[in-house]
Symmetry: C2
Subunit: 497 residues, 2 copies
Amino acid sequence: MSEQFTQLQARLADVHNLNMAGAVLDWDQQTYMPQGGVQSRSEQRATLSKIAHQMLTSEETSKLLSDAERDNDGYETTQAFLRVARREFDHATKLPAALVEETSRVTSIAQEVWAQARAANEYSMFAPHLEKIVDINRRTAQALGYEDKLYDALLDQYEEGMTCAQLDPIFKQLKEASIPLIQKIAQQPAIDDSVLARDYDGQTQKSFAERVLDECGFDFNRGRQDLSVHPFCTNFGRGDVRITTRLNTNDLQSALFGSLHEMGHALYEQGIAPDLDGNVLGGGVSLGVHESQSRLWENQVGRSRAFWKHNYRRLQEKFSTQLSDVSEDDFYRAINKVEPSCIRVEADEVTYNLHIILRYEMENDLLEGRLSVADAPEAWNAKMQQYLGVTPPDDAHGILQDVHWSIGAMGYFPTYSLGNILSAQLWNRVLESAPNMEDQIARGDFSVLLPWLRENIHRFGKIYTPKQLVQRATGSPLDVAPYAKYLNDKFGTIYGL
Amino acid sequence: MSEQFTQLQARLADVHNLNMAGAVLDWDQQTYMPQGGVQSRSEQRATLSKIAHQMLTSEETSKLLSDAERDNDGYETTQAFLRVARREFDHATKLPAALVEETSRVTSIAQEVWAQARAANEYSMFAPHLEKIVDINRRTAQALGYEDKLYDALLDQYEEGMTCAQLDPIFKQLKEASIPLIQKIAQQPAIDDSVLARDYDGQTQKSFAERVLDECGFDFNRGRQDLSVHPFCTNFGRGDVRITTRLNTNDLQSALFGSLHEMGHALYEQGIAPDLDGNVLGGGVSLGVHESQSRLWENQVGRSRAFWKHNYRRLQEKFSTQLSDVSEDDFYRAINKVEPSCIRVEADEVTYNLHIILRYEMENDLLEGRLSVADAPEAWNAKMQQYLGVTPPDDAHGILQDVHWSIGAMGYFPTYSLGNILSAQLWNRVLESAPNMEDQIARGDFSVLLPWLRENIHRFGKIYTPKQLVQRATGSPLDVAPYAKYLNDKFGTIYGL
């Protein structure tokens, strides 16, 4: 290994450690920090970000990187290291400092205004800020560079190599698979899921979820679960991966499936190969691949018939008064109820992706100037009617529902659907290599599933690009067909289609 | 304000924020971090320390500091800022990098070995490491510089301006006040404190302590209490001050008085003036002054008759089975039992300082070469017999009991006794300005005490040197007499002398 490469590694390890320290401060802020800490915490985090950015974009890093690229040992890991380092360096240096500063200023105000606008159901309050954010995203895309569409540059930040040219046909297929299924389900009798809204003690929900996490393979010696307003997964190395959940006494699904979802993210981070830890290759490769892991555990595992064969009696024991009159089958149907609704985060597996496609199309239209910020609520509502057959009662349940735009994030939403699609491709491969997987799950046995995911996805960290990893793990490029079949099979059975 | 001074402030604020981030990481490590996080956490903290040190000692900081010293507005706060900045800069630059590195290497091994040696009761395991640590402390003192004694340079790190020439007569008086009192008490019937070792539910202890903290004025909007193996107080700004405690079901004193002690530290940090927050003047001025606050709340308040007049019935309600047969007076006597023992951290108010004086004398003897590391256990035991009339049964209960030397800290112990002495001087002034303070405490009313401490100590942060602050707050230099009188009065009454 060249001296330059060693120096580059050391320098980027410092940048990595500063970012990890920032992540600890963020975790703390969302879990335990007293409110009086807000001001100094924001200054501490600003200092960490500033110094990490200075170190990453410095002349010294630039030179070490170029030297190492010119003269390296050619090993796969070295090449991957240089690919990711170059990507991070370019991203950080392509954005002019003034634009970064403007983004930070505009979005910190926009977040506040968005929260107020949503609470007041007043889109006009948020509109001028959204105008600025669309403009900033346009300039960000221009600074980052793209071949075909502005959107490609934004998307690439979250999903390396993904473009609209690839997404458009994928989303077209996804629509064609989802909309008719939703329409067929709508003609069936509705499932009664009111049992899920009975009164469930929060701490009991948490302890039940933690027992499930433990059984699935979440390593509590290398992680923990806490409470926060919005559930998330974070990590400060593969040895310290933390998830959070929230407890809602009148919603049995929120903590349980939220925990399984975040656990999916966490298992990915816990499964990174030890030798990649502590530098640019440690960590999941993209948001889409990450989401494939969270969705697989939440849905293919957690919302499966087999999973509840093992777990339902144990849940009944915890909540004997609430669940004594509910059969295992009725419970399974309740947690898989399909119903078009206005709110993305409450959507079921079948309708969820249409919420994403709507946002993807609108973001593109806004960026390309085909849609004005003023006309956006109307466009939103029209698409909701077209795709899901529902019209939001107001903008709070429509265009104002998500935090993403207020924090400046455009191009992020599609990764949720990419995760869904990939989860089904992976699941097919899992079933091919372990045809009795359902029996295993029905016994609470994950001793084949988790190692399979580790072997085929987790351990690689960022060594392969998302595209390479998908090809390697599934034997094909990203493909909607398995997901469409999964939805049709599962919900066809549930709704007797 | 000069441009240089503004730049200096900004630069030192970055250093401060890096150190605060390090403190958050340390708090997390001691409270919630899963064990798997150890390795990456130590790398994250090393990066933060390294970069903070580089920024503090850089050519740029040096130049800004010199320029600001030459050309400043002369205001008291500016002068104080420059005094503390110069002190920190000099401390960081005077120590050669090789010595800092050697200290870190030697002490990280020594800590491990010390823990093993204590567990195995085998001083010979630790001796070669102590030898190195004494030598490192000698060289540290030489690098830092001193006028009279090596020890002065070490002491000054923790208590600015303190020297052996000042400490020797203080400790002589303290001995003369303590030893005869201990001997008189020894002739009285022993107090039975076995009630404190009954079975007390940990969570109930914690909630009782938190109610007390709240009543004393600890601001839970700007702080919190958690559990850790060793209790401590830390802060990340005046708006986020955290304490920890430990719960021992067979020791009613540990959590309660530990909480009051750490709260004393915390109230100091919460009371720093807002305009000093976030830079070198924010934070308590020295370990001795800090300890005066923790001891005042733990002892003058927490172990007073008046305090339990208010709190004992409430404690009895929490622990009705355990305390129903114990009178308020018996409880008060139990928590104030005086008994010479081998372990410093378990010592009562009267015997405590003799443990400190012993360590002070031995550290000096070791540094000056009057005592060899080989002979140290014998010297320890002889002094224990001389001062306290007890001989440790083994080295684990003698010279191996404290962590301090293993982490390289010599010159630290005296600050504990300085805190005790100062607490009594301050308490006298409190009683002068509020003669009915006992009545107030007996009503659980701290609305005069806390503001008095804020006004006379807390708010100043590091604006004054410890010596200036003591003079200003008490009207005299450090003085043993009030503490000697406090001990004689309090324990004379308890033991009927």
